[in-house]
Symmetry: D3
Subunit: 328 residues, 6 copies
């Protein structure tokens, strides 16, 4: 708004949640990560000191609030307090993964809506905008009164699948769960092939819950299971097992967020899956490595969005959610 030739320059900083991704984003932007010292005091309070001038700059803070979410979220908030008091022109919280996204409504009495709480905390700590990737529920945008740009990794993941050169008539995209249908269907529109869905609903109260596959036949096909996140991996490995039972000759698992907690790694190791494809929205630490894990970077996607936000260019032009709306 004011000042000299250095003003409003883009600066990108990162917390400790996903340094490798932040470095790649910075590299894609052609500039180093901003200097900031983040450490723990002996009592594990978070210590932050920004080591370069940020007055009037356009600051982006990369910090997915992945496991351990409370630690990474508080680190983000403490960083934002430091930035807010250092007079940048604008602070954008870049959240490649949005922790607590699944707590987006009261599914019973007297529980929190933690995804809303997180939105309130981020806003209160000083964010001017948010850049998010594949939010678990699109309504989370409405939890904010500040602008939210919502990116989708579907094109990046689809590009990898297409590079596998599976013939279109051999490819089936499989949604592992009714709740993931819409996302899987959007994915299928990007890779082609046919579509199927695992349905575990009971057809009557007295019947045992069992799985069906609805839609395209899997016999002799290459099946790509798609979901927005892999958490404990129970759902996708269940779907993979079912695909094999129905005669699939190849099985791939594709997801934006590789959360990989609880029994996820053992389950995936044991599963008859050709390849597991996730993005680097969450860092894949050594304990999360798998021989057949393929990681697709979202660094360029996010860097492009950062560049466009900084340059006041349309995000929706490029990355828009292909939403059909639901007016009937």
């Amino acid at each position: 708004m004011f000042g000299n030739g250095n003003n409003h320059k883009l600066k990108i900083f990162a917390g400790r949640a996903n340094q490798p991704l932040a470095l790649k984003i910075a590299e894609a932007l052609g500039q180093p990560l901003g200097r900031i010292a983040i450490s723990d005091f002996p009592d594990f309070e978070t210590s932050v000191r920004i080591d370069e001038d940020v007055r009037g700059r356009d600051v982006f803070l990369v910090q997915p609030t992945c496991t351990p979410v409370n630690q990474h979220l508080m680190e983000l908030l403490v960083m934002m307090d430091a930035f807010k008091r250092a007079s940048p022109a604008r602070i954008t919280a870049v959240l490649p993964y949005y922790g607590y996204a699944r707590q987006d409504r009261k599914d019973k009495g007297r529980v929190p809506i933690s995804a809303k709480l997180v939105a309130n905390l981020i806003t209160r700590a000083g964010a001017d905008r948010v850049l998010a990737l594949d939010l678990h529920a699109a309504q989370i945008q409405g939890f904010f009164d500040i602008p939210v740009d919502h990116l989708f990794a579907v094109k990046e993941l689809a590009r990898h699948v297409r590079s596998l050169n599976v013939p279109q008539d051999e490819l089936v995209v499989l949604s592992p769960d009714v709740g993931s249908n819409k996302k899987a269907y959007d994915f299928q529109k990007n890779v082609g092939g046919k579509f199927a869905v695992v349905d575990k609903r009971r057809t009557g109260a007295s019947e045992v819950k069992q799985g069906h596959v609805i839609g395209a036949a899997l016999e002799g096909k290459t099946v790509v299971i798609y979901d927005d996140m892999i958490s404990t991996a129970g759902t996708v490995t269940g779907a993979a097992k079912m695909a094999r039972e129905f005669g699939a000759k190849g099985v791939y698992v594709c997801a934006t967020h590789g959360v990989f907690v609880g029994e996820a790694i053992p389950r995936l190791k044991a599963a008859a899956v050709d390849q597991i494809v996730v993005t680097d929205s969450i860092p894949l630490t050594p304990d999360k490595q798998l021989p057949n894990l393929k990681v697709i970077s979202v660094a360029t996607l996010i860097a492009n969005a950062v560049q466009r936000i900084h340059g006041n260019e349309s995000i929706s032009a490029l990355f828009t959610e292909d939403g059909p709306g639901d007016r009937k």
Copy 2:
């Protein structure tokens, strides 16, 4: 908080959106509707004058924001401004129908999240709490920072269906659309019988979109189609047609909100449906009458909730959403 023996007494008022329902709620509470004069100035600005003292009272305002939604919403907001300045102890907006609920996320770039806007406006105008019925998306609760009590008419509708005495092995609950599965499934748990769903997804990009029925067979059954609202009735009449084609011997349509706009009435008149069952959350004006329309009142349900809110008793104990959560 203060004052004499009249304090904190419950008072119930109504806007003009659904006077019949408000009168029934008041009757169920054993008291008359509060006196308030609402009219239009010659230029159609809304004129409001509360005609009795409300200081220190516990005020409930019944106003579904149904069609014409802008008129009914503004009437609610003007009423709330009058109440806020008249010093009640608390104002609860009772919204049997929440207009703009379907605009709950940005499904494309540069559109509003009107359901969030409405939440912001209601809060800004002075509501202390909200009492809502069958919100289109449960996440709308998270659009508010004030407490929201969320009721469900499923038990009231189920009671009517059970009164039809259809044998359990002849009953099928049919979800007319994938997006309505969860609600239809909750309904089925209350009425019994089997479950099926209309699926209109394409199984491949080049194929024509066509309907399937997944789950229980409909041949010779009594089919109850369930949704949260009937707007233009295209979806439910499509499902009814399909049910008949698949051999259903009886077809019922059940929904909480009878919005009935556009081609709804002609479509429903033309449909081969035995009975259409909705609640009185929205007034069923003469132009919305159908010979086979059955209206179930939610007045007692709402009155009980009002009484419990006033008495600081648990709502969730009685009416809780039966939410399985979606952690995998």
Copy 3:
């Protein structure tokens, strides 16, 4: 603040309340109206989609909240929610007519102050500033904490009256009501001639209310009745009748806002008035046409103000209210 060469460019958009005025303003600014799709869903919820990029732009939304006020106000609020989420640099609500302006205080117990409510709603929905024209009460500026620029059409209307070439000693400006004196007096300062006022006060409790004309004699004069708005036209047609009775040879009626509701059109048709002069702050639809209606456009006035706000130039330099202050 940021970005490329397109940044901070002025963009002007319009709701559906007064498209002709908006088009003229855009024309005066030398640019087209911004593309925005506004329509009604079948249930009459307002649908808005901005059809061009507005990131970092300086957005002006033209929407007088004229009859039907609730519809036009909600349309404005929904539009603003869409804009707010689309990341413009600034949103200015351009309100050539401010609905509910007459509800600016509690003149009795338990009524709303709707003009304040409207200010709160516009602010909550995301306006950064307001540009208004001839507010009914100047105090409404104080209802906002965001900046309000307040324009006056008095010069535009005076220019027309001067073009009638009435000799100064034949011209009398007549205030039709005590409450309108200040505005009429400001008008008289712009057109010259003499000044008179209709006084309908009773001079004693037992006396019948009757009209007097105070000030200049009307006999043989050309009388210009001036008010800020013509609503049901009872006041100005009463004044016109009185002017004729007192011997006026010509009678003109002048006002900024042609609200024209209720009996306005029949009354004005029946009145012995040479010409009725209003601005196009409110669209003069076919049902509001009169053979002797003269419409003066405020498009250039508003376009100049928009250009000055955009260019950070003083508004008060040009259009300032000529306020004497009231310290005694």
Copy 4:
């Protein structure tokens, strides 16, 4: 809300602006003023210490923000900060005189709306409600989003005038200025007699500004000049002079607020006025004494309002402004 038998008891405290009035209000309420130590530090910062427990109490702070207004307003705000942190159930700011009320709009460019600023400051410092007396502009109620109770001293002043036993056909109420007409007219409705108004408007641009008296003839009458406040007394002494010139045999001046600044006392001493009647909303210090000054107390009026607010009883039932509304 909580607690023991002492809860929610009414407590009344006073700043230093008008201790005599506060003592009378407390007396009328049958309880002593709450103990609070207010003094100046050597550098004239205000020192406040509340000397009794106020947790859960219903606190009323009496402090007219009269001359020196900045001192009395800041004292009110500092007191409120102390109270807010001491956990009362509610704080009501009792403002028998509202300083800065005449700065209620921007009558030219680049000036403050100080009356709104004051409303914002009082709210920010922690007031839950406001009790005001004869606000200079009724729109000031709309400057607050917290509830405002607005009292009028007209009945108290009228009672005194009626006690003078002037025959109805000898009594004329005179408004000293066009801007005061409405208030003077309300007064006349309470005392009877006839009504007149001083009009100092020029009837043409070239003419000298001079006074007229419109309405009832003053010859041989007892004239009661009425205004809401007497500041420098120029207006009312001008009206008194004119009344004498027009042959009035008795002249009284009546106003709620005796501000009495600048040349007020010398002017009033020199004026041919039988009696000056004001209330004790502002303390009448020795330098403001006049031999023919009659002070009517508003202590009982305010005490009744305090008692009714505390007891959640209607204020408007008793003291409502007799507003005709201004819809035409």
Copy 5:
């Protein structure tokens, strides 16, 4: 405010930070801890479900934000969101230890004021009031706009020291650091004896920093070192060493908060200290046990304060900080 006989009853709940203390507080209040299920999801998001009705209740949440502070603070915030949506009459955050308290100002450029951030987050999440114990800086009260009650454990600790029956002329209270003087001096006023302070300031730029003891001689005395918290124990063990060097015959260390991080336990084990006295504001887990550790409970102190807050009785009457003020 409303409701039945159960209303406004006090309910006390606890997070997982210090269950033993919470249980003791509940016991002192004569009621069980409220039922609430707190656990971790597999990805370590915090899961909260309140298992009893809290509508209209007066809720106290006990949760010191001790190490790991980010975990305990987020747990508090998630709990508060759940409570806020469950409609209690009031929520008081009971913080026996306030994490981040030492980050209370910017001691250099571009750092956070984390203690203020924490205040903002707690307020945003829904706290109505705060009850804190021995805040590191008294100014933290001013970081809140909601009421803060500030307790001091000095009397509890002094009672223990007096029970040691050290003759007054043998007792010396030693402040281990200039910054702790005021607190140590307040302690000395409660236990008697003499006063001394360790001073590690350099007396010239070129001189080595070395310790002095100012005040009472330590030779042959029983020295009680007092501070508000023991974090890494470097300061207090340094003071203990110095006391021994100066001939103290007995050395005690006294502090409210036993943070005990980093090298604290080894240092204290190695130190020539007779007894280390802390309160149970922070849980003393097995890894923090020392043979000569004496723990004084603050449960009764806090329970009394909770009871008084609930009962709207004065806290300051009992526990007030003995502040001399600092006006010179």
Copy 6:
């Protein structure tokens, strides 16, 4: 953000609290003070009218809130309201002296935290940032959620002391009070010499409070007493007396803020002090003149900071508080 070539230009305005300083700051910035008319109405309400266009400008308002603080603070707030409504790009409140700074915590029950109240009022009135000088407590920065730049006059004062050419081994900096140690110590680091402190603590409850000097010996030295402010001068004249008693051959008193109230001037006149050195943060009116008073201007310091804020350059780079932090 918008507009033409005049945009975002720096403009500096001043209230009436310290015109001489404001003029010097403007001179140092190479531009005149902005034109603004500030006066008192007859009733001492503050009248403000900005006499030049400020749209889109970067406005700095110089107004120390020194004695009479309530008057100067309200004048600042009224000015800010006028500016806020005149649409500058940014308003920075420049507070060379922050009144009420010593009321920064509740040192007993039921008192205000006036320093926080002042922060709230300044923010509410419309400040976007604050520029302060030598705040009495650094925590006051945390009372604001808007950015605060905190300057220190230590270098300016040190430069003067060094110009006295006292040999390093003859120079002793003396802190007059334990509470001022840190500030005095920072000063000593800038001027060199040795360090000492006056300690008036009692060493036992029964002993008389008496002064000691701790640290460097004063015999034959030139002693510079340093504090942040001189209010009634009791503390510094006491320290001066003690220095003389201990044999100091020269005594200087140095402070940023020359408050000089109560007995300050007589005390300083009577004291055996060679020179009293203060800055012009507070105007030194004729009644505050002393023959041995040396005034060091902070105009250049503040002008540099203003220039850097305007130019978005780092303040901390130049003027940072040399804070050691207090983690132990």
